[in-house]
Amino acid sequence: MRPKYIVGIVIVLAFIAFAAINLSKSLTPYVSLTEAKKSNKVVQVKGQRVVGSENFDMEKKIFSFKMTDDKGEQFEVVYHGVKPANLEQAEEIVVIGRYTQGLFEAEQLLVKCPSKYQAEGADV
C-alpha cells in the first residue's frame, strides 16, 4: 500500500475515534432524581414544577424552583438565568445539568408547552 492510503486511513480512523469518544461522553440520559444524585455526569430529569415554588433573585439573577420527578421525588433546581416566561404554562419541564450538594444545577431548562409543535429552549 502506498503511503497516501495509509495516511488517509489513519485520518479516517482518527476522526471516527474522536467522534465516538465524544459521542459517548456527551450522551445525556433521561434519569430519575435518584439516579441523578448518584451520577456525576450531566443528565436530564423530567418532571413537574411545584406550583408557587418559583423564586427569582433580581439582584443575583438566579432563578430557583422546586420540581417533582416522574417518581414523585421533590428537589430544588437552581438556574443561573432568568425564569423562562412560559414556565407557568408548561406541562412538563426538563432540566439538564448536574445534581450537587442537595441542589440540581441546571445548565439548560427545556419548557415543554401544551402545543407539541414548539417549546422554548432557554439556553445558558
Binding site: K4, V12, F15, F18, A19, N22, L23, K25, S26, L27, T28, P29, Y30, V31, E35, V42, Q44, K46, F56, M58, K61, G81, V82, K83, P84, A85, N86, E88, Q89, A90, V94, I96, L110, K112, C113, P114, S115, K116, Y117, Q118, A119, E120, G121, A122, D123
Partner: protein
Amino acid sequence: MISGILALSIAFVATTVATAAYWLFYRDQDERYFHLANRSFALGSIGIVFAAILLYYNIFAHNFQLNYVYSYTSLQLSNYYLISTFWAGQEGTFLLWLVFGTLYTIVLIRSIARREPLVLFFVLLVQSFLLLILLKKSPFAMIWHTHADAPVGFTPADGASLNPLLQNPWMIIHPPVMFVGYSSTVVAFAMAMNAMIKKKFSDWVVQARPWVIFATLFLGTGIIMGGYWSYVTLGWGGYWAWDPVENASLVPWLFMAVLLHGLLIQIRQKGLVKTNLFLAGLGFISVLWGSFLTRSGVLADFSVHSFAESDLNLYLISFVALFSVIFLYFYLRSLKLTESPKFAEGIFSRETFILLGMMSILFTGLVVFVATSSPIYTGLFGEPSNVSMGFYNLVSIPVAVLMLLSMGFAPLLIWKVSELRDIKTLFLGIIVAGLLTVLGVVFGLTKPVSILLIFLSVFAVFINAYVGVKFLRKLPSKSGAYLSHVGVGLMIIGIITSSMYSESEKIILPAGEFQGSQFGYDLQFVNFEERADGKDRAKLIVKKEDGSYQADPQFYFSEYTKSYMLSPHVKIGLKKDIYISPISFQPGETAQHKQLELTKNQTQTLDDLKITFNRFVVGDHMDQSPMAVKADLTVVVGGMKEFNLQPALWMENGKLQGNDVTIPETNYQLHLESLDANDGKIVLAIHGGAPAENAPKDVLAVEVSEKPLISILWFGCIILISGITVSLVDRIRGR
C-alpha cells in the same frame, strides 16, 4: 370528505398501476404498457392535484367540519397565513411532497421515461407509498372521525388556529422550499437504482447531476431560511440548535452536496463509481429516515419542536426498511460487477483535494445522522439518551479545518497531475489570509481555534474569489462552484465570530429607569404598546453615544399556546447585530387595592370617598341569576356629590360571582367581595385612585446580546445560494 378521499384513493390505485406498468414496459418493451403507465400516471396526478385544490378550497372556505381545517386555521388568520396552513400538519406536508413528486415525474416522462422506465418505476413507487400514508392519515378526515365527542355533522364555530410562532412570513416560504428539496432526492436514487439493475454504471451520472444540484440548492436554501427565521423570531439568540428536526434536513443536504462532488469526479475521472451509487441511496434513505424520526414521535421527548406522536410509525418504518433493503440488495450485487478505475494518483491533484472535502462533509453527515438517532439505539440498552449541542459543535471543528483546506487548495490544482503550479496565487492567498487574521486578532480574536478557522476561511474565500473572478470574466457559467465556495467560507467566518464572540447580559429594567449595560449603552423600558393583532410589544429605548433607537420585542399572552410568546428585536448592522430578547415580566402595582368591611348603616372613609352601607336588596330582575343579592350603598365623592350604587353578588355554576361598579366621576371601582346576611356585614374591594408612593413598578427582564459580524454569515448564504443556482442553470442549459 368523500370527494377528497375518493380522489386520493383513485390517485393511489392509478399511481400503483402506473408503477407496475413502467416495470412491465421495462421487462417486455411492449408499447402498450408504456401508454398504460403514462395514462395511469396522468389520472393519478389529476387525483393528487384535485386533492390539493380541494384542501385549499376548504381552508379558504373555512370549512371547520374538516379536521385539518379546524386544527390549523381560524377565521382571524389572514390570507397569507391561510396559504401556509396547508403545510402546518403532517397530512398537508405529505400532500405537498406528492405534488412536487408529480411535477418531477412530468419532467422525467418528457425526458427519459421511454429510455429509462425503471427510473419512473422507482419515483412512482415512492409516490404510491406516500398516497398510502395519506389514505391512512387523510387530510379529509371529518372532525367527528377524529374527535370522539363531536357528533356527526358538527361544525365548530371557529378553528383552533395556527401556532403563532408559525404566523411569520418566513413560514410561508420555508416549508415548501424544504419539501421541494426533500422530494427531489428521490430522482437521483431512482437513477442509481436503474443503473444498478441495468448494470450500466456511467450513464446515470450525467442524468442525475442537475437533479442533485437542484436538491442541494433547495435543501440549502430551505435550511438557511429556517435558520434565519429561528434567529429573528425565536429569541434564544441563535440560528441553529442541532435539534432533531433541523438535523433531519441537514443530513440529506450534506449527502447531496457530497454526491454533487462525487458525480463531478466520476464524469471527469471515471472514479468513485460505487461511492456515488451508495451516496445516492444514502441521500434518499436519510430523507425517509428523517421523516420517520420527526414524524413518528419517537423523539418527542428530545426535540423542542417535533410533530406530535402519531399512529404512522409502522407505515413509516416499513417505508424506510423496504427501500433500504431494496437498495442494499442491488448495491451489494453491484459491488461485484463493477470496478472503479484508479484515480487521484498524486497528492497535489485536484481530485485528491475534492476527495478530502467530500470525506469531511460525508463524515459530518454520518456523525449527525448517528448522533440524532441516539435516543433510539441507546433506548434499546437502557435509558434513552440524546447528544448535547456541545458534541456537534466540537466535532464540526476538525471537519471544518479539512473542508476549508480542500476548498482553498482545489482551485489551485489541476486534474490528474500532482503539481502545485500556481505558487504565486497560493502565496498571495496566504499573505492576504495572514494579514486579515492579524487584523482580526487586533480587533479581538483570542481563541486559538477561531484564529485558525478564520485564517483558513479567509484563505479559502480569497483563492475561490480570485479564481472565480477569472472565470466570471471568461466563462461566467462555470463560476458556480467557486462562488459557492466563497459563500461557504464567508458563512464559516460569520458563524465563528457571531457564536464564539457573542456576548450577552441579562438586564433587569424597572419601568422608566435607564439601566447601563456592559456594551456601553443604556436601556430604558418605557411601556407596553398594545397592538391590534394582540401581539403586544415592549417599548425599549436604547441610548447610544451615536444616537438612540427604539427596540420593540414582542411579549404577549397567546390563547393558542396558553403561554407567553416572546420574540426578539434585532437591530441589524454590518459590524454587529444587537439582539434584545425579553425574558420575564413582573407587573407592578399601578393602583391601590383596598378592602372595606361595613356593617349596616356604617360609614367608612377612603381617600375622599365616604361609603355607607344601607341595606341588602334581593334582586329579582338581575339577568345573570335570580339568586343575586345587592348591597345598597351611598357614596359621597369629595363631600360634594352623592351617588347610589348597588354592586351585586350571585351564584353561577356553583361559584360566587360579582360585578365591578365604577364610582361616577372617579377612577375608583367597587366590587362586592363577600357578604354575611345574618350579621348584616359586607366586604367591599375597592381599586383605583392614584398609585401609592413607592409602589412596585413594572419590571421587564431582557437579555441583550451582540452578534459580531453575523452579517457575513447571511451574506455568505446569499453567495452560496447564488453559486449553486449558477451551476444549476449551467447544467440545465448544457443538456
